[in-house]
Protein backbone atom coordinates (compact mmCIF):
# COMPACT_ATOMS: atom_id res chain seq x y z
CA UNK A 1 0.00 0.00 0.00
CA UNK A 2 1.43 3.33 -0.96
CA UNK A 3 1.39 6.34 1.35
CA UNK A 4 -1.22 8.00 -0.85
CA UNK A 5 -3.79 5.33 0.08
CA UNK A 6 -3.37 5.97 3.81
CA UNK A 7 -6.03 8.40 5.07
CA UNK A 8 -4.40 11.80 5.54
CA UNK A 9 -6.16 12.59 8.83
CA UNK A 10 -4.51 9.72 10.74
CA UNK A 11 -1.37 9.44 12.85
CA UNK A 12 0.47 6.16 13.36
CA UNK A 13 2.73 4.19 15.69
CA UNK A 14 5.47 1.97 14.36
CA UNK A 15 3.56 -0.93 15.98
CA UNK A 16 0.85 -0.29 13.33
CA UNK A 17 -1.91 1.36 15.37
CA UNK A 18 -3.55 4.48 13.92
CA UNK A 19 -5.08 7.38 15.85
CA UNK A 20 -7.57 9.93 14.60
CA UNK A 21 -7.40 12.90 16.97
CA UNK A 22 -10.54 15.05 17.10
CA UNK A 23 -10.60 17.65 19.88
CA UNK A 24 -9.38 15.90 23.02
CA UNK A 25 -10.28 12.40 21.86
CA UNK A 26 -8.29 9.89 19.81
CA UNK A 27 -10.02 7.05 17.96
CA UNK A 28 -7.67 4.06 17.64
CA UNK A 29 -7.50 1.07 15.31
CA UNK A 30 -4.92 -0.95 13.38
CA UNK A 31 -3.58 -0.07 9.97
CA UNK A 32 -4.60 -1.67 6.71
CA UNK A 33 -1.06 -3.03 6.47
CA UNK A 34 -1.41 -4.64 9.93
CA UNK A 35 -4.76 -6.26 9.15
CA UNK A 36 -3.34 -7.62 5.90
CA UNK A 37 -0.39 -9.09 7.80
CA UNK A 38 -2.62 -10.61 10.49
CA UNK A 39 -5.31 -11.81 8.03
CA UNK A 40 -8.65 -13.22 9.25
CA UNK A 41 -9.22 -11.45 12.55
CA UNK A 42 -11.41 -13.79 14.58
CA UNK A 43 -11.50 -12.11 17.98
CA UNK A 44 -11.06 -8.63 19.45
CA UNK A 45 -10.64 -8.15 23.19
CA UNK A 46 -11.70 -4.60 24.09
CA UNK A 47 -10.36 -2.62 27.05
CA UNK A 48 -12.55 -1.81 30.04
CA UNK A 49 -14.38 1.51 29.87
CA UNK A 50 -12.81 4.14 32.09
CA UNK A 51 -9.44 2.41 32.21
CA UNK A 52 -6.46 4.77 32.39
CA UNK A 53 -3.72 3.90 29.91
CA UNK A 54 -0.26 5.24 29.20
CA UNK A 55 1.06 5.56 25.68
CA UNK A 56 2.63 2.18 24.83
CA UNK A 57 0.42 0.15 27.18
CA UNK A 58 -1.04 -3.07 25.76
CA UNK A 59 -4.68 -2.01 25.65
CA UNK A 60 -6.60 -4.41 23.41
CA UNK A 61 -5.90 -7.77 21.79
CA UNK A 62 -6.58 -8.66 18.17
CA UNK A 63 -6.47 -12.36 17.39
CA UNK A 64 -6.14 -14.02 14.01
CA UNK A 65 -6.50 -17.76 13.50
CA UNK A 66 -2.81 -18.28 14.22
CA UNK A 67 -1.81 -15.60 16.74
CA UNK A 68 -2.85 -13.08 19.38
CA UNK A 69 -1.44 -9.54 18.96
CA UNK A 70 -1.41 -6.79 21.55
CA UNK A 71 -2.71 -3.40 20.47
CA UNK A 72 -0.77 -0.60 22.16
CA UNK A 73 -2.27 2.74 23.18
CA UNK A 74 -0.74 5.43 20.94
CA UNK A 75 -1.44 8.13 23.53
CA UNK A 76 -2.10 8.38 27.27
CA UNK A 77 -5.55 8.97 28.70
CA UNK A 78 -8.81 7.33 29.63
CA UNK A 79 -10.80 4.81 27.62
CA UNK A 80 -14.06 6.62 26.94
CA UNK A 81 -15.56 4.41 24.24
CA UNK A 82 -15.05 0.93 22.80
CA UNK A 83 -16.44 -0.45 19.55
CA UNK A 84 -18.94 -3.26 20.26
CA UNK A 85 -19.24 -3.87 16.49
CA UNK A 86 -15.73 -5.38 16.23
CA UNK A 87 -16.46 -7.59 19.20
CA UNK A 88 -19.56 -8.91 17.45
CA UNK A 89 -17.93 -9.05 14.00
CA UNK A 90 -14.12 -9.09 14.27
CA UNK A 91 -13.77 -9.25 10.46
CA UNK A 92 -14.60 -5.50 10.36
CA UNK A 93 -10.96 -5.00 11.35
CA UNK A 94 -10.03 -6.64 8.03
CA UNK A 95 -12.70 -5.15 5.81
CA UNK A 96 -12.75 -1.55 7.10
CA UNK A 97 -9.67 -0.98 9.29
CA UNK A 98 -9.85 2.84 9.15
CA UNK A 99 -13.64 3.05 9.51
CA UNK A 100 -16.08 0.56 11.06
CA UNK A 101 -13.11 -1.49 12.31
CA UNK A 102 -11.98 1.09 14.90
CA UNK A 103 -11.29 -0.43 18.33
CA UNK A 104 -11.37 2.14 21.16
CA UNK A 105 -11.34 5.87 21.92
CA UNK A 106 -9.01 7.58 24.38
CA UNK A 107 -9.63 10.94 26.03
CA UNK A 108 -6.14 12.43 25.90
CA UNK A 109 -4.51 13.32 29.21
CA UNK A 110 -1.46 14.75 27.40
CA UNK A 111 -2.80 16.42 24.24
CA UNK A 112 0.66 17.31 22.91
CA UNK A 113 1.62 13.61 22.85
CA UNK A 114 -0.05 13.15 19.47
CA UNK A 115 2.59 15.26 17.81
CA UNK A 116 5.11 12.47 18.53
CA UNK A 117 3.24 10.00 16.30
CA UNK A 118 4.10 9.21 12.69
CA UNK A 119 2.52 11.12 9.82
CA UNK A 120 0.83 9.08 7.05
CA UNK A 121 3.87 9.75 4.85
CA UNK A 122 6.34 8.60 7.52
CA UNK A 123 4.25 5.50 8.23
CA UNK A 124 3.98 4.76 4.51
CA UNK A 125 7.74 4.87 4.30
CA UNK A 126 8.07 2.56 7.33
CA UNK A 127 5.94 -0.17 5.79
CA UNK A 128 7.65 0.29 2.42
Amino acid sequence: MSASEIPADLLFQSSHEWARVEGDTATVGISDHAQAELTDVVFVELPAMGRAVDAGDPTAVVESVKAASDIYAPVSGEIVEVNPAVEADPSLVNTDPYGAGWIFKIKLSKPDQASGLLTPAAYGELIG
Binding site: T39, D40, V42, F43, E45, V61, E63, V65, K66, A68
Partner: protein
Amino acid sequence: MSETVLHSPLEAAHIALGARLIPFGGWAMPVQYTSILTEHAAVREKAGVFDISHMGQVFVSGENHIAWLDRLLTNNLSRLSPGEGQYTIMLNERGGVIDDLIAYRISETETLLVVNASMIPEDVAWMEKHLVSGVTLRNESDAWAGLAIQGPDAAAIFGKLFPSEQLPPRNGILKTAGGEIVCRTGYTGEDGYEFFCPAALGPIFFESFISSGAIPCGLGARDTLRLEMCYPLNGNDLSPERSPIEAGLGFFCDLTKPEFIGRETLASQKENGPETKLTAIELTEKGPPPRPHYEVFSEGGEPLGELSSGVLSPTLGKGIAMGYLPAAFTKPGTPLLIDIRGRKFKAVTVKKPFLKKSK
Protein backbone atom coordinates in the same frame (compact mmCIF):
# COMPACT_ATOMS: atom_id res chain seq x y z
CA MET B 1 17.88 -30.31 15.40
CA SER B 2 19.92 -28.78 12.60
CA GLU B 3 19.67 -25.01 12.12
CA THR B 4 19.55 -25.40 8.37
CA VAL B 5 16.13 -24.60 6.95
CA LEU B 6 14.97 -27.10 4.35
CA HIS B 7 13.09 -25.97 1.26
CA SER B 8 10.21 -27.67 -0.49
CA PRO B 9 10.59 -28.32 -4.24
CA LEU B 10 7.38 -26.25 -4.53
CA GLU B 11 8.76 -23.17 -2.78
CA ALA B 12 9.01 -21.00 -5.89
CA ALA B 13 5.40 -21.87 -6.74
CA HIS B 14 4.29 -20.94 -3.22
CA ILE B 15 5.99 -17.58 -3.44
CA ALA B 16 4.48 -16.92 -6.87
CA LEU B 17 1.04 -17.62 -5.34
CA GLY B 18 1.68 -15.08 -2.59
CA ALA B 19 2.09 -17.63 0.21
CA ARG B 20 3.49 -16.68 3.57
CA LEU B 21 6.23 -19.13 4.57
CA ILE B 22 6.91 -20.12 8.18
CA PRO B 23 9.35 -22.54 9.80
CA PHE B 24 7.72 -25.91 10.46
CA GLY B 25 9.53 -29.09 11.47
CA GLY B 26 12.81 -27.67 10.14
CA TRP B 27 11.22 -26.64 6.82
CA ALA B 28 10.05 -23.36 5.33
CA MET B 29 6.42 -24.13 4.49
CA PRO B 30 3.37 -22.06 3.49
CA VAL B 31 1.12 -21.23 6.44
CA GLN B 32 -1.45 -19.62 4.14
CA TYR B 33 -1.88 -18.21 0.65
CA THR B 34 -4.81 -15.82 1.02
CA SER B 35 -6.81 -16.64 4.15
CA ILE B 36 -6.86 -19.58 6.54
CA LEU B 37 -10.65 -19.34 6.82
CA THR B 38 -11.12 -19.41 3.03
CA GLU B 39 -8.69 -22.29 2.64
CA HIS B 40 -10.39 -24.20 5.46
CA ALA B 41 -13.80 -23.74 3.82
CA ALA B 42 -12.42 -24.82 0.42
CA VAL B 43 -11.43 -28.20 1.89
CA ARG B 44 -14.73 -28.72 3.72
CA GLU B 45 -16.83 -27.69 0.71
CA LYS B 46 -14.80 -28.31 -2.48
CA ALA B 47 -11.13 -29.30 -2.58
CA GLY B 48 -7.78 -28.00 -1.40
CA VAL B 49 -4.20 -28.97 -2.21
CA PHE B 50 -1.50 -28.92 0.47
CA ASP B 51 2.24 -29.20 -0.04
CA ILE B 52 3.35 -32.15 2.09
CA SER B 53 6.80 -32.47 0.52
CA HIS B 54 8.29 -32.01 3.98
CA MET B 55 6.93 -35.35 5.12
CA GLY B 56 9.27 -38.32 5.02
CA GLN B 57 9.10 -41.47 2.88
CA VAL B 58 10.92 -44.52 4.18
CA PHE B 59 10.68 -47.73 2.16
CA VAL B 60 11.16 -50.94 4.13
CA SER B 61 11.73 -54.15 2.21
CA GLY B 62 12.73 -57.77 2.66
CA GLU B 63 11.03 -61.14 3.04
CA ASN B 64 10.52 -60.70 6.79
CA HIS B 65 10.01 -56.95 6.89
CA ILE B 66 6.39 -57.20 8.05
CA ALA B 67 7.30 -59.25 11.12
CA TRP B 68 10.07 -56.73 11.86
CA LEU B 69 7.77 -53.69 11.48
CA ASP B 70 5.18 -55.38 13.69
CA ARG B 71 7.76 -55.41 16.50
CA LEU B 72 8.52 -51.72 15.89
CA LEU B 73 5.02 -50.27 15.37
CA THR B 74 1.83 -50.50 17.46
CA ASN B 75 -0.69 -51.50 14.79
CA ASN B 76 -0.79 -54.86 12.99
CA LEU B 77 0.59 -54.82 9.45
CA SER B 78 0.24 -58.58 9.01
CA ARG B 79 -3.52 -58.02 8.84
CA LEU B 80 -3.17 -55.92 5.69
CA SER B 81 -2.94 -57.11 2.11
CA PRO B 82 -0.69 -55.44 -0.44
CA GLY B 83 -2.36 -52.19 -1.51
CA GLU B 84 -3.68 -51.42 1.99
CA GLY B 85 -2.43 -48.96 4.60
CA GLN B 86 -2.93 -48.20 8.30
CA TYR B 87 -2.27 -45.46 10.83
CA THR B 88 0.30 -46.67 13.35
CA ILE B 89 2.68 -45.40 16.03
CA MET B 90 6.39 -45.83 16.77
CA LEU B 91 7.10 -45.96 20.52
CA ASN B 92 10.14 -45.68 22.73
CA GLU B 93 10.88 -48.36 25.33
CA ARG B 94 8.72 -46.54 27.89
CA GLY B 95 5.69 -46.59 25.60
CA GLY B 96 6.03 -42.87 24.75
CA VAL B 97 5.41 -41.69 21.21
CA ILE B 98 8.39 -41.19 18.91
CA ASP B 99 6.20 -40.62 15.86
CA ASP B 100 2.81 -41.32 14.38
CA LEU B 101 2.80 -42.40 10.77
CA ILE B 102 0.98 -44.29 8.06
CA ALA B 103 2.34 -47.61 6.82
CA TYR B 104 1.25 -48.71 3.34
CA ARG B 105 1.89 -52.23 2.07
CA ILE B 106 3.06 -51.78 -1.49
CA SER B 107 3.74 -55.48 -2.14
CA GLU B 108 4.46 -58.68 -0.25
CA THR B 109 8.05 -57.57 0.15
CA GLU B 110 7.84 -53.78 0.48
CA THR B 111 6.12 -51.24 2.77
CA LEU B 112 6.13 -47.44 2.61
CA LEU B 113 6.19 -45.44 5.84
CA VAL B 114 5.11 -41.79 5.60
CA VAL B 115 6.43 -39.99 8.67
CA ASN B 116 6.40 -36.47 10.14
CA ALA B 117 8.94 -34.01 8.69
CA SER B 118 10.59 -33.06 11.97
CA MET B 119 11.01 -36.72 12.95
CA ILE B 120 12.65 -38.13 9.81
CA PRO B 121 16.20 -38.28 11.29
CA GLU B 122 15.02 -39.67 14.63
CA ASP B 123 12.67 -42.24 13.07
CA VAL B 124 15.37 -43.47 10.71
CA ALA B 125 17.97 -43.63 13.49
CA TRP B 126 15.54 -45.61 15.67
CA MET B 127 14.81 -48.05 12.85
CA GLU B 128 18.49 -48.46 12.02
CA LYS B 129 19.26 -49.15 15.65
CA HIS B 130 16.75 -52.01 15.65
CA LEU B 131 17.47 -53.25 12.13
CA VAL B 132 17.82 -56.99 11.59
CA SER B 133 19.41 -58.87 8.73
CA GLY B 134 17.13 -59.41 5.76
CA VAL B 135 15.38 -56.03 6.18
CA THR B 136 16.43 -53.01 4.13
CA LEU B 137 15.58 -49.34 4.77
CA ARG B 138 15.61 -46.67 2.09
CA ASN B 139 15.03 -43.14 3.29
CA GLU B 140 13.84 -41.44 0.09
CA SER B 141 12.42 -38.35 1.81
CA ASP B 142 14.44 -35.92 -0.31
CA ALA B 143 13.53 -37.60 -3.58
CA TRP B 144 9.76 -37.15 -3.35
CA ALA B 145 7.45 -34.17 -3.52
CA GLY B 146 4.13 -34.67 -1.77
CA LEU B 147 0.69 -33.13 -2.29
CA ALA B 148 -2.43 -33.78 -0.24
CA ILE B 149 -5.62 -33.21 -2.21
CA GLN B 150 -8.51 -33.08 0.24
CA GLY B 151 -12.20 -32.30 0.07
CA PRO B 152 -15.46 -33.57 -1.44
CA ASP B 153 -14.25 -32.74 -4.99
CA ALA B 154 -10.84 -34.42 -4.57
CA ALA B 155 -11.86 -37.71 -6.22
CA ALA B 156 -13.36 -35.94 -9.25
CA ILE B 157 -10.15 -33.95 -9.67
CA PHE B 158 -8.16 -37.18 -9.68
CA GLY B 159 -10.47 -38.55 -12.38
CA LYS B 160 -9.79 -35.49 -14.53
CA LEU B 161 -6.02 -35.75 -14.22
CA PHE B 162 -5.71 -39.55 -14.29
CA PRO B 163 -8.61 -40.78 -16.43
CA SER B 164 -7.09 -44.24 -16.83
CA GLU B 165 -6.34 -44.79 -13.12
CA GLN B 166 -8.66 -45.86 -10.32
CA LEU B 167 -8.31 -44.21 -6.90
CA PRO B 168 -7.52 -46.83 -4.26
CA PRO B 169 -10.14 -47.47 -1.55
CA ARG B 170 -9.92 -45.69 1.83
CA ASN B 171 -6.41 -46.09 3.36
CA GLY B 172 -5.23 -47.85 0.20
CA ILE B 173 -2.16 -47.20 -1.94
CA LEU B 174 -1.73 -47.21 -5.71
CA LYS B 175 1.29 -46.87 -7.96
CA THR B 176 0.26 -45.17 -11.19
CA ALA B 177 1.53 -46.20 -14.59
CA GLY B 178 3.77 -43.12 -14.44
CA GLY B 179 5.31 -44.19 -11.12
CA GLU B 180 3.53 -41.71 -8.85
CA ILE B 181 2.20 -42.98 -5.53
CA VAL B 182 -1.41 -42.26 -4.54
CA CYS B 183 -2.61 -42.96 -0.98
CA ARG B 184 -6.28 -42.57 -0.06
CA THR B 185 -5.52 -40.94 3.27
CA GLY B 186 -5.40 -37.45 4.73
CA TYR B 187 -5.37 -35.22 7.77
CA THR B 188 -8.56 -33.20 7.29
CA GLY B 189 -11.53 -35.53 7.84
CA GLU B 190 -12.54 -35.15 4.19
CA ASP B 191 -12.20 -37.63 1.36
CA GLY B 192 -8.96 -37.21 -0.52
CA TYR B 193 -5.53 -38.60 -1.16
CA GLU B 194 -1.85 -37.98 -0.61
CA PHE B 195 0.09 -37.94 -3.83
CA PHE B 196 3.85 -38.48 -4.10
CA CYS B 197 5.94 -37.87 -7.20
CA PRO B 198 9.62 -37.27 -7.96
CA ALA B 199 10.64 -33.92 -6.43
CA ALA B 200 11.37 -32.32 -9.80
CA LEU B 201 7.82 -33.01 -11.00
CA GLY B 202 6.24 -31.55 -7.84
CA PRO B 203 5.65 -28.04 -9.22
CA ILE B 204 4.06 -29.44 -12.41
CA PHE B 205 1.58 -31.64 -10.54
CA PHE B 206 0.89 -28.84 -8.01
CA GLU B 207 -0.08 -26.60 -10.92
CA SER B 208 -2.19 -29.39 -12.49
CA PHE B 209 -4.18 -29.97 -9.30
CA ILE B 210 -4.75 -26.23 -8.94
CA SER B 211 -5.89 -25.79 -12.53
CA SER B 212 -8.23 -28.76 -12.04
CA GLY B 213 -9.98 -26.94 -9.22
CA ALA B 214 -8.03 -27.53 -5.98
CA ILE B 215 -7.39 -24.39 -3.92
CA PRO B 216 -3.82 -24.14 -2.55
CA CYS B 217 -3.99 -24.44 1.25
CA GLY B 218 -1.36 -23.90 3.92
CA LEU B 219 -0.44 -25.25 7.33
CA GLY B 220 -2.86 -22.86 9.05
CA ALA B 221 -5.90 -24.51 7.47
CA ARG B 222 -4.29 -27.92 7.92
CA ASP B 223 -4.19 -27.27 11.67
CA THR B 224 -7.81 -26.06 11.99
CA LEU B 225 -9.05 -28.93 9.80
CA ARG B 226 -7.20 -31.65 11.70
CA LEU B 227 -8.16 -30.29 15.11
CA GLU B 228 -11.88 -30.27 14.21
CA MET B 229 -11.39 -34.01 13.69
CA CYS B 230 -9.23 -34.43 16.86
CA TYR B 231 -6.34 -35.81 14.80
CA PRO B 232 -3.23 -35.42 16.98
CA LEU B 233 -0.20 -33.39 15.92
CA ASN B 234 3.10 -34.90 17.03
CA GLY B 235 5.03 -32.38 19.12
CA ASN B 236 1.76 -30.77 20.33
CA ASP B 237 -0.57 -33.61 21.26
CA LEU B 238 1.92 -36.49 21.15
CA SER B 239 5.23 -36.68 22.95
CA PRO B 240 7.86 -39.15 24.17
CA GLU B 241 6.35 -38.71 27.65
CA ARG B 242 2.83 -39.76 26.65
CA SER B 243 1.61 -43.13 25.43
CA PRO B 244 -0.93 -43.69 22.66
CA ILE B 245 -3.31 -45.07 25.32
CA GLU B 246 -3.18 -41.67 27.06
CA ALA B 247 -3.60 -40.02 23.65
CA GLY B 248 -6.77 -42.01 23.00
CA LEU B 249 -5.17 -43.97 20.16
CA GLY B 250 -5.66 -47.44 21.65
CA PHE B 251 -7.57 -48.46 18.52
CA PHE B 252 -4.26 -48.30 16.61
CA CYS B 253 -2.36 -50.45 19.14
CA ASP B 254 -2.78 -54.18 18.70
CA LEU B 255 -2.10 -55.67 22.12
CA THR B 256 -2.84 -59.16 20.79
CA LYS B 257 0.63 -58.98 19.24
CA PRO B 258 2.92 -60.78 21.73
CA GLU B 259 5.73 -58.28 21.36
CA PHE B 260 6.42 -54.73 20.19
CA ILE B 261 8.50 -51.89 21.60
CA GLY B 262 6.54 -50.13 24.35
CA ARG B 263 3.93 -52.88 24.68
CA GLU B 264 4.33 -53.40 28.47
CA THR B 265 3.39 -49.79 29.27
CA LEU B 266 0.39 -49.93 26.97
CA ALA B 267 -0.84 -53.24 28.38
CA SER B 268 -0.62 -52.00 31.95
CA GLN B 269 -2.29 -48.67 31.13
CA LYS B 270 -5.05 -50.45 29.27
CA GLU B 271 -5.65 -52.75 32.22
CA ASN B 272 -5.51 -50.12 34.96
CA GLY B 273 -6.72 -47.15 32.93
CA PRO B 274 -4.32 -44.32 32.09
CA GLU B 275 -3.83 -41.58 34.68
CA THR B 276 -4.29 -38.85 32.10
CA LYS B 277 -6.12 -38.74 28.79
CA LEU B 278 -5.94 -36.44 25.79
CA THR B 279 -9.36 -34.84 25.99
CA ALA B 280 -11.48 -32.78 23.61
CA ILE B 281 -12.53 -29.48 25.18
CA GLU B 282 -14.96 -26.89 23.86
CA LEU B 283 -15.38 -23.31 25.07
CA THR B 284 -18.97 -22.75 26.15
CA GLU B 285 -18.87 -18.98 26.36
CA LYS B 286 -17.74 -16.41 23.84
CA GLY B 287 -14.06 -15.81 24.37
CA PRO B 288 -10.68 -15.59 22.71
CA PRO B 289 -9.52 -18.60 20.68
CA PRO B 290 -7.96 -21.25 22.92
CA ARG B 291 -4.28 -21.87 22.14
CA PRO B 292 -1.57 -24.38 23.14
CA HIS B 293 -0.18 -24.01 26.70
CA TYR B 294 -3.22 -22.18 28.10
CA GLU B 295 -3.89 -23.61 31.56
CA VAL B 296 -6.93 -25.72 32.34
CA PHE B 297 -8.70 -25.74 35.71
CA SER B 298 -11.57 -27.68 37.19
CA GLU B 299 -14.80 -25.84 37.86
CA GLY B 300 -13.60 -25.56 41.45
CA GLY B 301 -10.32 -23.93 40.39
CA GLU B 302 -7.99 -26.93 40.73
CA PRO B 303 -5.17 -26.85 38.12
CA LEU B 304 -5.51 -29.84 35.78
CA GLY B 305 -2.98 -29.28 33.03
CA GLU B 306 -2.61 -27.29 29.83
CA LEU B 307 -3.92 -27.30 26.29
CA SER B 308 -1.80 -29.13 23.73
CA SER B 309 -3.73 -27.68 20.76
CA GLY B 310 -6.44 -25.08 20.38
CA VAL B 311 -8.10 -22.94 17.72
CA LEU B 312 -11.30 -21.13 16.96
CA SER B 313 -13.05 -23.75 14.83
CA PRO B 314 -13.88 -22.14 11.47
CA THR B 315 -16.64 -24.69 10.80
CA LEU B 316 -18.26 -24.64 14.25
CA GLY B 317 -17.54 -21.01 15.13
CA LYS B 318 -16.39 -21.82 18.66
CA GLY B 319 -13.17 -22.44 20.54
CA ILE B 320 -11.99 -26.06 20.39
CA ALA B 321 -8.94 -27.58 22.06
CA MET B 322 -7.29 -30.73 23.31
CA GLY B 323 -5.24 -31.30 26.41
CA TYR B 324 -4.08 -34.06 28.76
CA LEU B 325 -6.31 -34.07 31.83
CA PRO B 326 -6.48 -36.36 34.87
CA ALA B 327 -8.79 -39.28 34.00
CA ALA B 328 -11.42 -38.18 36.54
CA PHE B 329 -12.03 -34.98 34.53
CA THR B 330 -12.26 -36.48 31.05
CA LYS B 331 -15.86 -37.74 30.92
CA PRO B 332 -17.80 -35.79 28.26
CA GLY B 333 -19.82 -33.04 29.92
CA THR B 334 -17.28 -32.26 32.65
CA PRO B 335 -17.21 -28.48 33.25
CA LEU B 336 -13.78 -26.83 33.09
CA LEU B 337 -12.20 -23.38 33.06
CA ILE B 338 -9.50 -22.21 30.63
CA ASP B 339 -7.23 -19.38 31.69
CA ILE B 340 -6.73 -16.89 28.88
CA ARG B 341 -4.57 -13.88 29.80
CA GLY B 342 -5.64 -14.08 33.45
CA ARG B 343 -9.37 -14.51 32.84
CA LYS B 344 -11.09 -17.86 33.24
CA PHE B 345 -13.46 -18.89 30.47
CA LYS B 346 -16.05 -21.66 30.80
CA ALA B 347 -15.42 -24.84 28.85
CA VAL B 348 -16.62 -28.44 28.81
CA THR B 349 -15.19 -31.80 27.82
CA VAL B 350 -16.84 -33.30 24.75
CA LYS B 351 -16.78 -36.55 22.81
CA LYS B 352 -14.25 -36.68 19.95
CA PRO B 353 -14.29 -35.51 17.22
CA PHE B 354 -15.62 -31.96 17.37
CA LEU B 355 -16.93 -32.15 13.83
CA LYS B 356 -19.46 -34.93 13.44
CA LYS B 357 -19.53 -35.73 9.75
CA SER B 358 -22.74 -37.14 8.32
CA LYS B 359 -21.58 -39.64 5.74
